[in-house]
């Protein structure tokens, strides 16, 4: 880390924002993001208008499709699960001053790890044991794929932003090769054979059916609980442990971390390992929990969307959960769009995603500064003596 600072690349990594002491948490944590989100959706509405449809009707179809308990809600939660993992991955790295945009590649390689483990052991293990193996395989493979860029930044000065971008493409090539030439089923699709049903845990609607609760079939599975656990775990790690404190110190002030006798290099590597492991868990949700096989491009951009989730959630686990739910709903809602509005392609989600990242993160000051100035002026008038 210290080497990257001295060669001027340090500024590439976003620093966690300092908390303005006099601003209440709801202003910075709720009001500002809500306004930014509204602005992003407003511009997205212009795109919908350009296409010749009504933005309000579009939004209504998306939200009703995504939040209807009898229909899309379970899928929304399934997508939100993946996004929680990738969002937490970005958030953890961010607190250590690292920008890990390699979640997509880490999830890819984790999917490969899960698939290899399942293809090898699914005839021999029962479902609970297989689940545990899948979790370990996903974490290990994802962490490994993040370890290399982490190591290269810590010891060799290769900036993690650039190398994780490159590693996304390297992972895609690796997965493509494995599916085409090594572990593919040889059928039409580029995918592995299905894992043995005896090694699979039931999905939520399957698990609840014997209890008399009937749900629409969906991919929602036990990984959702794992995601909630991870969110709690990340909060505990970052704000209740020595390691978390060290990581945040490194992120806030690398120089202070060095004076405190911490090793920036090993903290950088540790942060990337945790981050990659979290991103990798997305493969448990998808490859093990939902599909029961490894399909090419299974991540579907969820790794990248994790960046939007983390930024929108202000890198706090609770915020990540809320943002994951929001983006999960948008993702599910955009798949419903095509039925009612054949002129709008489901890729509208990418437009919204881009605009949200743009207004929430890149153009942060556009909304934040006026709002904060306005609030301070208002509160000064309330308490002229303060």
């Amino acid at each position: 880390m210290s080497t990257t600072i001295s060669n001027g690349q340090g500024a590439l990594a976003p620093r966690p924002q300092r908390i303005a002491a006099r601003l209440p948490w709801w202003l910075t944590g709720l009001v500002v993001p809500a306004l930014q989100l509204a602005l992003a959706l407003g511009v997205a509405s212009l795109v919908v208008l350009l296409v010749g449809e009504s933005p309000l009707a579009t939004l209504r179809v998306m939200l009703t499709g995504a939040l209807d308990p009898a229909n899309g809600l379970a899928s929304t939660l399934y997508y939100a699960t993946s996004l929680t993992f990738t969002g937490l991955a970005v958030a953890v790295a961010f607190h250590a001053g690292l920008f890990n945009i390699g979640g997509e590649g880490q999830a890819y390689v984790a999917g490969l790890g899960v698939a290899l483990a399942c293809l090898w052991l699914d005839g021999r293990l029962g479902a609970p044991a297989m689940f545990c193996v899948a979790v370990v395989a996903a974490t290990a493979a994802g962490a490994f794929w993040a370890w290399i860029p982490g190591y290269l930044q810590a010891r060799r000065g290769a900036h993690v932003v650039v190398s994780t971008i490159m590693f996304n493409y390297i992972a895609a090539g690796l997965l493509n090769y494995m599916l085409v030439s090594a572990i593919g089923s040889g059928g039409m699709g580029t995918e592995t054979r299905s894992f043995a049903p005896s090694a699979m845990l039931p999905k939520l609607h399957e698990a609840l059916a014997p209890l008399g609760i009937v749900l629409a079939p969906s991919f929602l599975n036990i990984a959702m609980l794992l995601a909630l656990l991870c969110a709690a775990g990340v909060w505990w790690l970052l704000w209740r442990t020595r390691l978390g404190y060290a990581l945040r110190l490194l992120g806030q002030s690398p120089r202070a971390a060095r004076y405190a006798g911490l090793s920036a290099a090993s903290l950088t590597i540790t942060a990337m390992l945790i981050s990659g492991g979290l991103a990798g868990l997305m493969a448990v949700n998808d490859v093990y929990g939902a599909q029961g096989r490894l399909v090419l491009n299974f991540t579907g951009g969820m790794g990248f969307l994790g960046v939007a989730v983390a930024l929108m959630g202000r890198n706090h686990p609770a915020g990540v959960l809320a943002a994951a739910l929001l983006f999960g709903a948008l993702y599910q809602g955009s798949t419903d769009l095509q039925l009612d509005f054949p002129r709008i392609s489901p890729e509208l989600i990418l437009v919204i995603q881009g605009l949200v990242v743009f207004f929430v993160a890149a153009l942060d000051r556009l909304v934040r500064e006026p709002v904060e100035r306005g609030y301070l002026a208002w509160s000064n008038r309330q308490r002229p003596d303060a």
Partner: protein
């Protein structure tokens, strides 16, 4: 022997054609990054340029109008990047990423809504495209001259005008950066923005101009892909070449001529991938095509890690400039 020579030549010609969009975009990347702005949004600008160029060329019937439209689309995205990173001092990586998503989604949504062909634009005929130009004598006397004649005929002749422009460009950029007032200011903005400010020149202005040029070049790169290499726009047609161009910028250490070399190398890898598909090489066996696909990225990471030389980025790269009071 004759056959192998012809095969080498046609692979070289194909490498040149494949390198063209990389060169255009990478030169744009050099200008942005040397002025101090990280631009991972090359990809999005290329995609927007490709879409605008194919759309306009098909509607107006001229590839040149398409090119202008593609460049305008690139500049528009570049200016969004500029507003976010220069005016509002936002994170440059985040902004570039956001604009990549935006361009990817927008081209698909608009393409589907306007043409209803699954995101494709209408197929372009020869008059709406940039077609290969035969250099003088390529088909006449070059056939008489052994070896060099074939080289002239296959490798040098028969490219579209954009390819020739792309290969003049690095020298031009080199000259502008090294020998003009603007180039000096641009490099200073990327190394010591304070010095630019002290000299009474606006850092924001210099960086904005650099981004305008980046947008134009990326737009032209996209226009090449959709109206010269292909005959329509299709979904996500740049397929990561913006990131390969970014890799080339780093691999060429932010200097025009070496970056040109990197683009040619990466173009050659893609050409070899197509050429060696399914063929067995003596001593190596069949090389999986994925090896060629990932090599540009692997090489760039290896270079960045300092295993082959040292890549030192501009000193103020990624830092918003805040005027001192």
């Amino acid at each position: 022997m004759e056959d192998i020579w012809l095969m080498v030549l046609s692979t070289a010609a194909s490498a040149i054609r494949l390198a063209c969009p990389l060169v255009l975009a990478a030169m744009g990347g050099i200008l942005a990054e040397r002025s101090g702005i990280v631009d991972i949004g090359l990809e999005g600008k290329m995609l927007a340029g490709a879409f605008a160029a194919a759309t306009l060329a098909s509607q107006l019937g001229s590839p040149w109008l398409g090119l202008v439209g593609g460049m305008a689309a690139g500049v528009a995205l570049s200016m969004l990047h500029g507003v976010a990173t220069i005016r509002y001092r936002g994170d440059q990586v985040v902004s570039g990423m956001a604009l990549n998503f935006f361009a990817l989604g927008l081209t698909m949504v608009l393409g589907q809504a306007w043409f209803e062909q699954g995101g494709q634009t209408p197929a372009l005929d020869a008059a709406q495209r940039f077609t290969p130009i035969d250099l003088p004598g390529a088909e006449t006397w070059a056939r008489q001259v052994p070896v060099l004649g074939d080289f002239y005929r296959i490798v040098l002749s028969g490219h579209s005008v954009l390819v020739y422009a792309a290969f003049v460009l690095p020298a031009l950029i080199s000259f502008v950066l090294g020998h003009t007032r603007f180039g000096l200011r641009l490099r200073a903005a990327g190394e010591e923005p304070n010095a630019v400010d002290t000299a009474g020149v606006s850092v924001a202005g210099v960086r904005t101009l650099a981004l305008v040029a980046t947008g134009m070049l990326c737009g032209a790169a996209g226009a090449y892909i959709s109206t010269a290499q292909n005959a329509a726009f299709s979904r996500d047609m740049t397929a990561g070449s913006g990131y390969i161009a970014l890799a080339a910028v780093i691999f060429g250490k932010w200097r025009p001529q070496p970056v040109l070399g990197a683009c040619l190398l990466f173009g050659l890898l893609t050409a070899l991938e197509a050429r060696l598909q399914g063929q067995s090489l003596p001593g190596l066996g069949t090389i999986p095509p994925q090896v060629f696909q990932v090599l540009p990225y692997v090489l760039t990471v290896v270079l960045l890690a300092g295993f082959i030389g040292k890549a030192t980025p501009p000193k103020a790269l990624g830092r918003p400039y805040v005027k001192e009071r």
